[in-house]
């Protein structure tokens, strides 16, 4: 009985916290809501550093979600909303930083790694192919000698 009671309380309580997060903002339009969700998913909480503001429950994330919502109501574009938050909190709040001299290595590292890997693979392929073709073809005399040796080996083996 106690177990069932605990289960019911836990279930009800968990739905209450869910309602707290989702029921704050109303949207007339499904696509607007989707836009809002996308925006808060790609903005990063400055306080709790590896969470986006959609996941974070810190007061600053709440303020930022609120600001995003207000700006959407005022008809701001995604770019304007992101720029306005970057203007306050810095480039840090973007999970996808712009490409500039500071972030160049960040963006280029995957490409450099892939390129390096390709060069290594290409090197291995080229070298193995070169050693393959470099194997000298046998002259008629050598071929005859090999045939003789193989024949002899076969005879010995079967004996």
């Amino acid at each position: 009985m106690l177990r069932i009671l605990c289960f019911v309380v836990a279930t009800v309580a968990s739905s209450m916290t869910f309602a707290d997060v989702s029921a704050v903002y109303g949207f007339d339009d499904r696509s607007e809501e989707q836009r809002y969700q996308n925006l808060i998913a790609e903005l990063r909480c400055p306080k709790c550093q590896n969470q986006n503001i959609a996941d974070s429950n810190s007061p600053i994330s709440k303020d930022m979600r609120n600001a995003v919502y207000q700006m959407m109501l005022d008809g701001a574009s995604d770019q304007e909303i992101v720029d306005s938050l970057v203007g306050r909190f810095g480039e840090f709040v973007k999970y996808k930083p712009d490409l500039d001299s500071r972030t160049f290595m960040l963006w280029a590292t995957p490409a450099i790694a892939v390129l390096g890997g390709l060069i290594v693979v290409a090197g291995i392929v080229v070298r193995s192919r070169r050693t393959g073709t470099a194997a000298p073809t046998l002259s008629a005399e050598e071929q005859a000698r090999i045939d003789r040796m193989l024949a002899e080996k076969n005879r010995n083996g079967s004996a």
Binding site: P46, K47, Q49, P59, I60, D63, A67, V86, G87, R88, F89, G90, E91, F92
Partner: protein, 178 residues
């Protein structure tokens, strides 16, 4: 060629070592303010100590000030309070407070009980100016030069060491290039 390849792991280890070493001692939770070099955002908020009066960004004009973001809900603010008192009294630093997401009664009791290092306190119960300043956790302390431009933001507690090592050099620089 073969010989050279033998040194590749060593080379890779050195590069990784250099990159990782550069990160040692950096605190990733301390972010540079996006407002450095920009004027304090426009605002119009009540004065904590004189509820009838309104303060705006003009309070930062005229002399170099510290803008200290605090709240009675913030334990680290209690921590740094005595050091702020020391700065105001001994070093004659002009400190303007930003009472952030707090309520007036608690804040006034706090100042009454612990002393008041602030020349003025901006009362920002909804955190609007805090948001415009990019405040993400109290206490934060901004250095603002005589023309009202943000020079530096320190996140965390101010103490004698932070003052000597971090804030004073910024203030001296602002004085020379102000």
């Amino acid at each position: 060629m073969k010989r050279f390849l033998l040194f590749l792991p060593l080379l890779a280890a050195i590069i990784v070592g250099v990159v990782l070493f550069a990160g040692i001692g950096k605190d990733p939770t301390k972010l540079d303010s996006a407002l450095i070099g920009k004027p304090v955002p426009a605002f119009s908020l009540r004065d904590l100590k004189q509820p009838e009066a309104t303060l705006d960004e003009a309070v930062f004009r005229g002399e170099i000030t510290l803008l200290n973001v605090w709240g009675t809900w913030c334990p680290s603010c209690r921590d740094e309070h005595d050091d702020l008192m020391w700065l105001a009294r001994e070093k004659k630093v002009s400190i303007i407070g930003l009472n952030y997401k707090d309520n007036r009664d608690d804040a006034l009791v706090w100042l009454d009980r612990l002393g008041d290092p602030y020349s003025k306190v901006i009362y920002d119960p909804k955190g609007t100016l805090g948001f415009d300043l990019g405040v993400y956790g109290a206490p934060e302390t901004f250095v603002i030069d005589a023309s009202g431009v943000v020079r530096y933001r320190h996140v965390g507690v101010v103490n004698g060491d932070v003052w000597e090592r971090v804030l004073l050099p910024v203030i001296n620089d602002a004085r020379e290039n102000g």
